[in-house]
Structures are given as C-alpha cells and as structure tokens.
C-alpha cells in the first residue's frame, strides 16, 4: 500500500503507476529490492544488446515527452545530444522542483532513486556521456540521503563506475545542490548555477545539447522523465505508446491540492479529464461547495473553469485552453476564491522569483502585481483591465525565459474566464466571493438587531453606535473590517457584503 503519497487509497481505478511504479513498494535504501523488481535490467539490455541509436529510437518511438514542463520529445533530445561530438558530455537530472506545492520529483527520488540513476546511465550510453549530475535542491535532505545511498550501492554492485556490465561503458553520477531559487530549475540557469555562476537563464540557442555544462553537450531531463525510461525499455515502446493520447503518451503525476476532499500525488494516463481527476480521484470539492476553477501548471499556469472540465489532460490541450502542463501542479478552487486575488497570489510568487535579468519580467511583473493589488483594494478603474491585458501580453511576448513567458498566464486566464469578477472589482468596487477585505462593508440588518450592544462593546475602533434596545449602526468610515462584531452578534444581525 502506498502510504507516503497522500490519501488515494480509495479510488485508484483511474490511476496507472509508471513513474511511481516502485514508490512505496520497495525499500529505496536497498538496491536488492530494486533489482528484484527488474531494476537495472533495462541498463543491462541497452549495454549488451542495443546500439546507442537503438536506445534512442526506442525512446523516440515510445513518444515520451519531457515531464519538466516543456513537453519536448525526450528521444529527440537525446538524439541531438548524441550527434554533438565532444571529448566530454554530461547527463543532468533536473531535481530542482521549485514549484510551490509540487513534490512529485521529491517523492520519486525518495521512493525510487535507482530508477533515475539507471535512466541517467542509459541516457549516457545513448548520447556518449560518462558523467551524470543530479541538480537537487538542498531543501530535500531525505531525497539527497537516499540518492547518496543509492549511488553508493550502485557503485558497489558495479552498476555505476567503470566498465558497466563488462562493456567498455563507464558512467558515474555526482550530486549538485541548488539553493532553491525557482528559476534555477530552468535548464540554462541550472547549468550556470552548477558552474558556480549566477543562476540566471541565457538565450537559447545554444541549447544545452550543443553547449551545456562547462560548454559541453549536455542532456537535461526532469526526474519524472527519467523515471519513465527503464520501464519503457523493459516493456517496450509499443507498450508505453498505447497509453495516453495521440500526442502525449504515458502517464503524468500531478500534485492535487486546494479545495478537493483528497489531496496528494496522482498518476493518471494522459487523456484523463480534469473532471475525473477532481471528482473521481480527488473526491470532489471540499464541504460540497461549488467548483470554480482549477489551476494547472504551477505558479504560471492558467485557471481553467467548468467548461474545461471534460478536456482530456495532455500537453497540447492544456496549452490550447490557456494553461499548461508545467511540472504537474493542480490546485482546485471553489466559490470562495476571488479570482483577482488568485492572480495576485501567483504574481506575488513570480515577482519574488524573477531573476531580474530581463526588463519585462523584472519590472513588468511587479507592475502587474501592483495593479492587481490596487484592484483588490477597490482602487482599480475600468481602463486598468485593458492595461492589465496589454502588460500581460507584452511580458509573455518579450521575456527571456520560460518564467516571464508564462508568468502572466494566471492574469490572462482569469481575465478571459472571470472577466465579470474583475468588472465587479473595478466598477462596483465589490468582490463577489468576499475574499477582498478592502471591498467588504459590514452592516446591520435592522429587522434582526435587538439592540443588545454586544457589537458596540467588542468593536476595537468604536465604529458602532446605537442606544440600548435600538437598532445599531456601523460607520463604514471607521470600521476596519476585523469581523469581531459579526462573530459576537447572536442574532445574525451583522452581515458583510
């Protein structure tokens, strides 16, 4: 039983375990258990029976696409790296996982580290690299420990090091630690960070496959991407490419969170609908409230609505709907969520995480945030909505790296799907969901008020006046919207709107 992955013991019927295949099943600190479940069989097969190009062809045929966000075909990436010749090449595993709330990569590394190591060795063989590097955030001590143990054990078993499987192929892996900046997960930034330089992206091309770590051809893949490799090579590309949709094969792990009953990691075949994930696996909305939106793709994904619920999840459909796969964040929102605040929340994150290299992201996102903040305070104007959209489009259109190119997505998708909510904020100065405190007013319902004076006594700023046994009045100029009166009134005579 899978215990460390959250609460999906009930409804696993939609789930297929490929990337999470061994997680929770084996003792990750014991290589024998991995081997017992056909671990390192794929590596052996590749080294002894397949030519590097055969391996690449198999991965290409499987249709596997990168799970780190971009969805780039993995086999093609390996092929490009294999064709760039150099005295030294590198295989890098991107375990930076900077999305707040994401923990799929961590779970894989903690639960099944050998799968990633095996995959990196296979990749090394296919592209002609002898060195592997795992870039892992320092905040993942358990994953780091397990990786270290796994590398040690693999070396002992001759599965890493010199002359693997008695062939001429050498491959070894080292760890590199990231300080946890989100943008260091972007591959060029990650490489600079490993080189001891400032963790900021550079323009591509050149891609890492041409000029990567220390200027050498480098293949960068995500943890989950690697976790798919051994099983694909064991069971064959044609097994794998039967799962999923036409252009997105296999499964995807999501970190389901927000206002759903069951939260945690989910691995579903590509093509599963959002409805299935949210209602069947997630068990529906918490407290049986009304579903409002689901945000996929991490901090710079978009917010999708009711009308998207039956969209089969894959790379292209999510993009077409105005969101993205990203690394697999999935946050569900209900009727209590204000969508302007949601957009603001995500912008706050991107403003914090921008590296500052390019002006649209460094300054533009800040300006987006400021404008959203004003709107939530009731200081917005109708013309601001147009500005919001223009700034968002320009930031997307002109930013240097994926961070800025996607950071306005929460704004654009909420503008598209919840325009009325924005309008309510700027024209009526109201927040329909009641989340924006500055836009709420507390007042007394005359019919219910008995004049008990309880509210007036609890108000910390003396905003409430009224004679005993007479209807009370809340002065909106003084009220600080602390909600103390509403809580105190036994007669439901105070409401907020």
């Amino acid at each position: 039983m899978i215990t460390n992955l959250g609460g999906f013991k009930m409804s696993q019927h939609k789930q297929i375990r490929i990337a999470l295949n061994n997680c929770g099943v084996i003792d990750p600190e014991n290589i024998k258990e991995y081997i017992a479940r056909d671990g390192y069989v794929a590596l052996g097969k590749c080294l002894t029976e397949m030519k590097p190009q055969d391996v690449i062809n198999e991965i290409k045929e499987s249709g596997l696409r990168g799970r780190g966000g971009g969805g780039f075909p993995t086999g093609l990436k390996w092929e490009i790296a294999s064709k760039n010749h150099a005295d030294q090449k590198y295989v890098v595993c991107n375990a930076d996982e900077g999305d707040p709330g994401a923990f799929m990569d961590r779970s894989i590394l903690e639960g099944d580290p050998h799968a990633v190591l095996e995959a990196m060795a296979i990749c090394g063989y296919s592209m002609g690299a002898t060195k592997g590097l795992v870039y892992i955030r320092a905040e993942y001590p358990l994953a780091i420990k397990r990786l270290k143990v796994a590398i040690e054990q693999a070396r002992e078993y001759g599965l890493l090091g010199k002359k693997l499987f008695e062939t001429d192929f050498d491959f070894d892996i080292e760890l590199r630690y990231g300080a946890g900046a989100f943008v260091c997960g972007e591959e060029t930034s990650l490489i600079h960070s490993m080189e001891g330089l400032r963790g900021e992206p550079t323009i591509k091309p050149p891609y890492p496959a041409e000029k990567g770590y220390l200027g050498k051809p480098t293949n960068v893949n995500n943890v989950e991407t690697y976790a798919n490799i051994p099983i694909i090579l064991r069971k064959g590309a044609s097994w794998f490419n039967k799962i999923g949709t036409e252009k997105s094969k296999g499964t995807k792990v999501f970190a389901l969170a927000g206002k759903v009953k069951n939260v945690g990691l989910v691995e579903v075949p590509m093509g599963t609908t959002l409805r299935e994930v949210i209602y069947e696996i997630g068990g529906g909305i918490e407290n049986d409230k009304k579903f409002k939106a689901v945000q996929t793709g991490g901090p710079s994904g978009g917010c999708l609505t009711e009308k998207h619920l039956d969209t089969p999840i894959d790379f292209d459909n999510l993009l077409a709907a105005g969101s993205m796969m990203g690394s697999g964040g999935m946050i569900v929102m209900d009727e209590d969520n204000c969508m302007v605040s949601v957009a603001k929340f995500y912008l706050d994150f991107t403003v914090e995480e921008s590296c500052g290299k390019c002006s649209p992201c460094r300054i533009g996102n800040k300006r987006l945030y400021e404008l959203l903040d004003r709107i939530t305070q009731g200081k917005g104007e109708l013309s601001d909505l147009q500005r919001l959209r223009n700034m968002s489009l320009v930031i997307k259109d002109t930013s240097l790296c994926g961070l800025g190119q996607t950071s306005p997505n929460p704004v654009l998708s909420t503008l598209d799907n919840f325009y009325d909510e924005y309008l309510a904020h700027v024209t009526d100065k109201k927040c329909p969901s009641g989340e924006c405190k500055d836009l709420m007013t507390y007042f007394v319902i005359e019919e219910n008020c008995v004049g008990c004076t309880a509210c007036a006594r609890v108000c910390p700023v003396g905003a409430i006046t009224g004679e005993k046994k007479e209807v009370h009045y809340i002065n909106p100029e003084i009220c600080i919207k602390c909600g103390a009166c509403e809580e105190r009134c036994k007669f439901d005579a105070i409401i907020v709107k």
């Binding site: 290299k357 002006s359 649209p360 300054i363 500005r387 223009n390 259109d397 930013s399």
Partner: protein
C-alpha cells in the same frame, strides 16, 4: 553552406551563418533600436545579455517576439521589425524600464549623452502609466575617488559587468539581488572602494545611463580659479586633444590642441601646460631604466628582472598591486606623466615663478578616471599637499568650456606656455596603445646604439589587436616587445611572466581599449569603435607633424636636467619622478 538567405521588412539579404538579426538588418540599413546591446567592433568587446528586450522583432513562425541582438538568423527566416505588435511591445517595455527610473534628467550628469534618454525621445514616450503608484528600486549612492554609483538609475544592461569581468578580468562588478531589486555592483553590495576596482573607468565609459559617472571636480576647479591667492596651472594629457572636439559636434578624430589651449586660457588658468612634456620626461626615466636593466641583463646579471613593464597607467598599477603583488618589482618605477608633471610643477616651476607650493594649484585634464584616484595617493603628496590637486576628465573640461559660454569651434589656435608646455611627437602618442613603447624605443634605441634613427614610425607596434608582439633590432641585439591594452590581455602576459615563459624584454600595458584614447573620462563612444580608431589616427597625425619627435631631443627636457635634475635616475629624479608599489591584495571582508 555557410550563407543563409532571409527577408527583413520585405527585403532579401544573404548573410553568414551565425549572424544575428540585428546585424543582418544593419546590412540592409535597417537600424533596430538596441539598449543593452553593445559591440565595440574590432576590439572583441561585445555585450549581448539579451536583457532589455527593446530590440524585439517579429519572426514568422515563432511564438513570441525575438530579441534581434541575440537571435541568430536561419535560412528562409522572415522578419518584421516594425509591426504594431513590435511597436507596442517596445513601447510597453520602455515604459516598464522608465517606470523604475528616476526622472532626474535636468540634473543628471549623463543628460544629453544618455542612451536611455535618447531611447525615450526616439520612442516618443510622453507618460508612464501607473507611475503614481509604481514602486521604484532604491539603492544607496556609492562615492569613491573616481566613480560615483547611483544604482537607482541602473537598467541592468550588464555592460559594466562585462567590461569589468570579461574585458578587464578585474571582477569587481556582478549582478546582485534578484528580481525587482536586481542591480550590478561589487559583491555583498560593498562600496567600490573596498572592492578590487582599479578605477579604470571602463564601466563608466559603457554605462548607457547616469548610474555610473565620474566623480566631478569641476566645482573645485572653478573655486581655485576664482581664488586670487592661488596660481592655477593646468596640464592636458595627449588623448584629450583627439577627443574633446566630439563634445562640440566635431567629427571624431578632429585634433583640437590649439583650440583647447585657448579655451583653457580663457577659463582663467595662469599657465596652460602639456602633460606631454612630462611624457617626454617619463621616457627619459623609464627609457634609462629599461636600458639599465637591459644592459645588466644582457651582461648576465641574474639579479635583474625582465621584462620591464610600463607604469604610466594608474589602473594598471592598481591591477597588479591587487592581483600580482608578488611581481611588484617588475614594472618600471617611473611615475605616470600626470604625477611627474605635478612633482616638477610644485618644485622646479613653483621656484621659477616664486610661488609657494601651497599657493600653486595643479589641475590636470585627463581622458582617465583612474588619474583622479592616482592624484590622491599618499605617495604623491608632500605634507598632505598633493602634487596634482584636481584631475578632471575630458568630459568635465567640455562642461567647463560650455558653462563659460565658449564655443570651441570658434576659438583660435594658441600655443602652450613654456617651459612645461613643450613636447615631442613621441609624447603625443602616449595617448594610444603602443605609443608609450614606441616613444621609449625611439629614445632607448638612439641612446643605446648611438645611431640616429632614420625612420621613426614603428608600424609593427601600432594597431588595435589585443596583444601585439614585435622585435626591434637594436643594432644587432633583438629586443622583444609586447603590447597589451585591456587588463584581461595584460593578465595573459603577466601569467606568462609568472610561469617563466615570457619572451619579452619590455611590455607596454594600457588598461583601456585602444589606450587612453578610449579612457573612462573621454566623450562617450556609445559602442562605436570607429570613434576610437579615428582618435588614434589623429594622435599619430599630431606626432607626424611635430618638429621634434624624440623625447630626448625636447630642449626643455634637456634644460630641466641641466638646471634641476642632473641626469635621468639621479637621486633627485628618483625622489621626484619614481615611486614604489604596494601589496593591495586582500580577502573580501564582509561586515
């Protein structure tokens, strides 16, 4: 197939593979606006971070806009440089940049010469939406003897960083903080004074805004000029005359020696002298030192170290004091011309005009910011009184002239005053890379061999290549000469010496690209290296036209030795004209 065909704004062009859209467009005479990008062609100095995003263009088939400065063309590419989408994006990005920029143009040192201001004009920016509530990134202003850093005006173009790290290999500047607070400066936000900065001023030379400017001494100069108790004299470095005209709309490469002299006289200086006089003096001292070391070395004296390195560039002096302190006995001990001038002015000349040292103010006009720092070094003070009181840059002089309502274009040509205004052609070429060593060779050759040179132009020592090597035949003795401009190039030669692999007898080092003509105090070149080349040409032209072209033939130098110094390297010369160096290497301390 090394050519690719593409279409830009409906025009076809074929270019080399690897060309950027920006460069391809330029060949079609389409000038795409750039801000962070800078390319000093022929000098191997290129800044291409792709950061400002002003240069974006639309490329068919591409999702987002492409930064033209750093996007390579491909075969069949179709580019549009001014669609509504591009224009809107460029304007919006510019509004972003300006929204985080102080609107200080009225009082900003860079005003009129500022790339950002020019871009705002070009794009016709009239308002910045949301400015009322836009937060601005704030930093403390950092003052140093040479440079003022006002990072509120930094636009993160990274030019300074590229200059300091890649070209100079000083490594004093790097990006710090992230996101909105990101800017460029010394590590841990320490003051530039506490960093390994050499004050070469190259960061200032390339900064597109007023974020990096010189420490301005024009007020001090005006105060001195208006003080009736002071005699104020001025010296002008060779590179100044080849660039000052640019500030008055003249073609780059226009020599304005005579007009500059008359402007200085009209500004009220009591004597207008020439640093070139001191450059001749430098050659006498440094040339003698070279010959002395060389003779001993060739005679087999193991105690003598070669190569000898020139020492007239104060940024270079700081550089080896910081980075190669163990080699501080290799450079010549000769002071820079600026300091030699100061020392002679406040002794020999002060006596001649019967003025007390304290009542004589020496101002120097330099293409250089490091000279400001140099003038303040303790070695160059007597009882706290500096040999050179104020060192101002070419730009500051231009400001003084304009403020005095003088139009350089209309001034007559006048001559320098005597005795410290007479100089040889050899001294003039100090202003460009290779010039110091050429000047030294002219003198050393004749003094060493006793033969008169019939050809004074040593073409093999001229040019703009990063590192140049030449062998000069000293009548049977081949002397190997190395030349480097830029401290990164100097570093390469120093590493060779350190490794015992240097083949040179003498090396000239200048910190700035092209030598002093490209100094940090010169009129802004805005990334156009043809300006530097035109200045160099002007310098060689001035040399060629001089009646005296060898330092040891300058009659006033001969007289100075007869009347005052004795002979080169005499005790008095040592005291006044030579210096010593210090170990300034240090670990970075964080407080």
């Amino acid at each position: 197939m090394n050519k690719v065909k593409l279409t830009i704004d409906d025009k076809q062009i074929e270019v080399e593979k690897g060309t950027t859209i920006y460069k391809a467009a330029k060949q079609l005479e389409i000038e795409i606006p750039v801000l962070c990008y800078m390319n000093l062609e022929g000098l191997n100095i290129e800044n291409k971070p792709g950061g400002c995003r002003i240069c974006v263009v639309e490329v068919e088939g591409r999702n987002n806009l492409a930064p033209s400065c750093s996007t390579e063309v491909w075969d069949g590419m179709v580019v549009h440089t001014h669609t509504m989408r591009v224009i809107n994006a460029r304007r919006t990005v510019m509004e972003f940049i300006l929204s985080d920029h102080p609107k200080d143009c009225l009082t900003c040192a860079k005003s009129g010469n500022c790339d950002l201001q020019n871009m705002a004009v070009k794009l016709g920016i009239r308002e910045i939406p949301g400015q009322e509530y836009a937060e601005m990134s704030k930093y403390k202003t950092d003052f140093s003897p040479s440079i003022i850093r006002e990072l509120d005006k930094c636009i993160m173009c990274r030019r300074c960083e590229m200059m300091c790290n890649d070209f100079q290999t000083v490594g004093a500047l790097s990006a710090f903080h992230r996101g909105f607070q990101a800017a460029v400066g010394p590590a841990f936000e320490m003051d530039i004074e506490d960093s390994p900065c050499t004050y070469c001023g190259q960061c200032v030379a390339v900064c597109p805004t007023g974020a990096l400017t010189e420490k301005d001494h024009t007020r001090d100069v005006i105060n001195a000029l208006s003080d009736p108790t002071k005699k104020v004299i001025v010296q002008t470095a060779p590179a100044v005359r080849a660039a000052l005209g640019e500030e008055f709309g003249m073609e780059p490469g226009t020599l304005v020696t005579g007009k500059m002299v008359s402007a200085l006289r009209r500004l009220g200086f009591d004597y207008v002298f020439d640093t070139d006089f001191a450059a001749d003096l430098t050659i006498m001292e440094e040339g003698t030192e070279l010959l002395d070391r060389l003779t001993k070395f060739l005679a087999g004296d193991k105690k003598v170290k070669l190569p000898i390195l020139t020492s007239c560039c104060p940024a270079w002096v700081s550089f080896f004091e910081h980075n190669f302190p163990e080699m501080k006995d290799i450079p010549s001990t000769a002071r820079s011309p600026q300091q030699m001038f100061g020392a002679i002015a406040k002794t020999y000349f002060a006596d001649k005009i019967s003025t007390k040292r304290e009542d004589l103010v020496v101002v120097s006009i330099m293409p250089c910011l490091a000279k400001k720092y140099e003038a303040q070094r303790d070695e160059f003070k007597v009882n706290g009184n500096p040999d050179v009181d104020f060192s101002i840059s070419t730009r500051e002089l231009a400001h003084l002239i304009k403020e005095a309502n003088l139009d350089l274009n209309k001034l007559p040509d006048e001559d320098f005053d005597k005795p410290l205004g007479e100089s040889s052609g050899a001294a003039v070429i100090f202003g460009t890379t290779g010039g110091v060593i050429e000047a030294a060779v002219r003198t050393a050759y004749e003094l060493h061999t006793g033969i008169k040179l019939d050809k004074l132009d040593f073409e093999q020592l001229r040019g703009f290549e990063a590192i140049r090597k030449a062998t000069v035949d000293f009548d049977g003795t081949p002397i190997n000469i190395g030349i480097a401009h830029g401290l990164g190039n100097a570093r390469k030669l120093l590493e060779e010496i350190k490794a015992g692999k240097s083949e040179f007898h003498a090396i000239e080092i200048m910190s700035c690209p092209g030598g002093c003509i490209g100094g940090g105090g010169q009129p802004t070149h805005h990334g156009d290296s043809s300006i530097l080349k035109a200045r160099a040409k002007a310098i060689y032209a001035e040399d060629a036209g001089k009646p005296i072209r060898k330092s040891h033939e300058n009659p006033y130098i001969i007289k100075l030795y007869e009347e005052f110094l004795g002979k080169p390297m005499s005790e008095k010369a040592h005291h006044l004209l030579h210096t010593c160096y210090f170990d300034k290497s240090r670990k970075i301390e964080i407080d």
